[in-house]
Assembly symmetry: C2
Homo-oligomer: 354 residues x 2
């Protein structure tokens, strides 16, 4: 267990030899070796195989030199493992054959039995942890975002059905989120039991909610997830996009690290999350610009994060499929070099972008 790793140190708000880096969706279509796997196997075949999951998890560590691995998975993987009919459609996302519509659908969400349901996932964690010399981050969806896929039947632009159920049937909604929280808790506890040294809870789409709706209808279930992981002693990261108005709630839910999308400069984000560490937040689309721009933008992120410990460098959302992996590798190197041994930010504080 690499407990002295810069990634884990930064999660705990401790001083680091350099700012650690990893990328959401670092395992994925930007890597030729991943695309080669996907030409041979479906997403479902990959997540059902310990070897393939472990391989996809480790590929970006080998190629990019990132400071953490994250389990190759999808937020609906536990539901699929329980026998719920859901497919990951390329370029679309999870699509459920039978969306969640009423109380009768609750019965489909039985308690997760990780050692059987997630046997290949946990075996993959064990393989990757044994082979890697960087920490492995466990992966799970938060109750709201999983619920939104279940209710909409797939990705959504407006979450109309999700919000109508949340506001119109709050008791059923709370029961649904409670069941999903239980599944998330069971999955993450099992991943940590198998060797994951941190966890990230993806509430990717919670930023579609008014802060009051989030507070009333989502925060309780998410808080239960974070509280139920507290005794494990591993850093808990909480991430979503367009969460500018929710960052305080994301911290209050019990996260040790709050992931920030690129819309909120990290100095502003720091004010909203208090003493928690922050993770982020370069705009993934910036990686399509010339290298000089990428480097300058990465520096702006580092400058906004400031000299205070507790920053994990990441993108503000997942790596885009068309991203050049050489740019990702160069970015890791750049962040490491620029922050080595507490090197001061290159610009004076008053010039920091905010």
């Amino acid at each position: 267990m690499p407990s002295g790793s810069p990634f884990l140190q930064a999660c705990r708000g401790e001083a680091v030899p350099y700012t650690p880096v990893w990328f959401m969706r670092q395992a994925g279509r930007s890597l030729p070796e991943f695309r080669a796997l996907r030409e041979r196997y479906t997403f479902a075949e990959m997540t059902a195989s310990a070897e393939l999951t472990a391989e996809a998890t480790m590929q970006p560590v080998r190629r990019l030199g990132v400071d953490a691995a994250i389990l190759f998975s999808d937020i609906v993987t536990p539901l699929a493992a329980m026998g719920i009919d859901v497919e990951i459609e390329a370029g679309v996302g999870p699509v459920f054959a039978v969306p969640f519509r009423s109380e009768a659908d609750l019965v489909r969400l039985r308690p997760l039995e990780p050692e059987t349901d997630l046997a290949p996932v946990l075996a993959a964690v064990r393989i990757a942890v044994a082979e890697l010399d960087v920490p492995l981050i466990g992966f799970a969806g938060a109750p709201f975002t999983v619920a939104s896929y279940l209710i909409e039947g797939g990705p959504s632009r407006d979450y109309a059905r999700t919000k109508a159920l949340m506001l119109g049937e709050p008791v059923l909604w709370a029961r649904l989120l409670d069941r999903l929280a239980d599944i998330t808790i069971a999955s993450l506890r099992a991943q940590v039991g198998a060797g994951a040294a941190a966890v990230q809870v993806f509430d990717s789409w919670a930023g579609t909610l008014h802060p009051a709706h989030y507070e009333s209808h989502v925060l309780p279930a998410s808080t239960r997830v974070f509280n139920a992981l507290a005794d494990l002693g591993v850093p808990r990261i909480h991430f979503g996009v367009t969460t500018g108005e929710l960052l305080g709630h994301f911290a209050a839910a019990g996260a040790d690290v709050v992931g920030v999308d690129w819309r909120v400069p990290l100095d502003r984000a720091r004010q909203r999350v208090g003493s928690r560490a922050v993770q982020g937040n370069l705009d993934p689309a910036v990686l399509g610009a010339p290298w000089a721009v990428v480097a300058a933008e990465a520096d702006a992120v580092l400058d906004a994060a400031g000299a205070r410990p507790g920053h994990i460098f990441n993108l503000g959302h997942g790596v885009l499929p068309g991203t050049d992996p050489d740019v990702l590798a160069r970015l890791v190197e750049h962040v490491h070099e620029r922050t080595a041994d507490g090197r001061a930010p290159a610009v004076a504080p008053q010039a920091v972008r905010s």
Copy 2:
């Protein structure tokens, strides 16, 4: 010209007899009479016909009792009118046959000649203004959002090409935005000349940008648009979604009214836009909940807007296609009744949702 209209009074930050209401996309698929038109005519046929455009513009005023009409249009209508090959695909949005890729594409963006290019649009404005007893809001896209459609070729999730061009070729980008600003200015000046009593500039997707990118690469062109409309003396509304971190810039660009999406409570938005009026911001998805929820959520919006003048009630984004028009009509009535004659907010200030 209904200069004493509650809508115009609210735009100017004056006291109102009741809070005015209109809805983005109030002309559209939620209305059966609009769907009946669309069964017979394509979107392009409708925007090319003064009578059909005027009819679609007036339909929601008749049925819903809103306090303002908005020109039925699309942000790419001026480009289509100039002969650029773009289609509005149902459920998708504008799709360009030949996306903007390089300097050679600039020549396609010749200056707009509104009296000829937009002849049916301006005739529609004249018809609607003559028939309506509420103000008509002129409609145009802001340079960034129009540029994003041109460059991506259609709607986008990540704006990767747009941002790569913006950051990688800033001189070409500035030239593109300048041309689009000129087109927006010409279109809106002509609409006001034909009788529009206010304008709304849609920078719907600018909220995808980091504030520093917005400030460097978008704010100058948008400011030029708002400045070029100042002498007309009509209220200028500036709207986009996921703009929480940009609201100060949206005001600074020269707007009289800043439209706010539902993610930012209006009391917070007021702090960010200073003395400007605010417009918004009920989550459109709320309209799918039972009426008691809709009413309570509308009240929460009114309470967050507070007693200070300068609030136009609207949704935080467009009416969703599946919305029941009776709910829209009832909502207009509810907002009017609850705010009639400066009636105080129903809850004490400390209980206001924020």
